[in-house]
Symmetry: C2
Subunit: 161 residues, 2 copies
DNA sequence: AAAAAATAGTTAGTATACGAATTATTAGAT
DNA sequence: ATCTAATAATTCGTATACTAACTATTTTTT
């Protein structure tokens, strides 16, 4: 097996592990990982837009919309059209949504996080920079389509109401 | 942002890049990455079973079945029930399937592979082992559910006809 | 001010991807 | 020999995830 094939197999294993963990979460807590991540994002940035969430967690708006549909149907989230700019939709947690967040398990790979945090500082850094390197190698010509994002700097300015 | 969050963001970027590349491939060549990977697997192991493919490329049988449905509908693959063990289905390429394979682009991340192969030997090794390490850290209790597989040793014994 | 361009979100259509349940068949236990 | 286990593949239901097309609105250009 070629080296890059080994790498891709490992990658496939990782993404599969993430997916399986999400399914498991869903059975136990009723929420998948992407749903939890979206909820947490809204919790941190109350009133934020769909687009903001999509960018900060690296998903398309369409995907976020469909996740929101489910969260809204279950009464965890409220969509509120902005009055000043009616294109925008502000996202808010319901009381139920807040409760669910508080009791929810970590959104992904709890075991992974545990293990990761037990590593030496330099090892952590090394894993992160290797992943970032692989990500940048994958980018190729899609670079412009996936603008670098500084998570955390997106929400300083209020964007609805 | 925590270190492990950065790592997960990179990971999400990588999986997204893979997905986007697959979509692009699909538009250009008519086949997605998973479809191409399955085709190549069959090309290498003519007559192999659904389960073998699922294991060697790290997918569930259900997923492989649905990929095969599309490949069969397009006349790239033939399913042939084994006579000696009627549970088994042997997979074969049609002439069209063989042609398509020959002219097909690399199944994933061509740019990635290019770049990867330009790296120094030790750098390649480092990327691979880091990915493998992350994969094993993700495994946790799913280890038994994902038995280690030695790709290439699965097909020595003929299993159909 | 009217036309064109940009933006936000949704919808439609398709393809992964999974577990659980189902069907058919084979292998193993009593 | 028969009843039970295990195995192989499929079907079913659900959730991601994407692009392209669409609607509604706002901004920019002319």
């Amino acid at each position: 097996m070629q080296k890059y094939e080994e790498l891709l197999v490992s990658l496939r294993k990782v993404t599969r592990a993430i997916g399986l963990y999400s399914k498991k979460l869903s059975k136990e807590s009723g929420l998948t990982s992407p749903q939890l991540i979206v909820l947490k994002e809204i919790a941190q940035h109350n009133g934020c837009m769909v687009k903001d969430i999509a960018q900060s967690i690296n998903l398309s708006s369409a995907t976020v919309t469909s996740i929101l549909d489910r969260l809204e149907a279950r009464n965890y989230v409220i969509r509120e059209r902005s009055l000043t700019d009616k294109r925008r939709v502000g996202l808010h947690l319901t009381e139920q949504g807040k409760t669910v967040i508080e009791n929810a398990p970590r959104p992904l790979q709890a075991h992974f996080i545990d293990r990761f945090e037990k590593l030496q500082e330099w090892e952590q850094t090394q894993l992160v920079s290797t992943m970032q390197r692989i990500a940048s190698m994958m980018d190729a010509e899609d670079i412009d389509a996936a603008p670098l994002l500084e998570v955390g700097t997106l929400y300083d300015v209020t964007q609805s109401e």
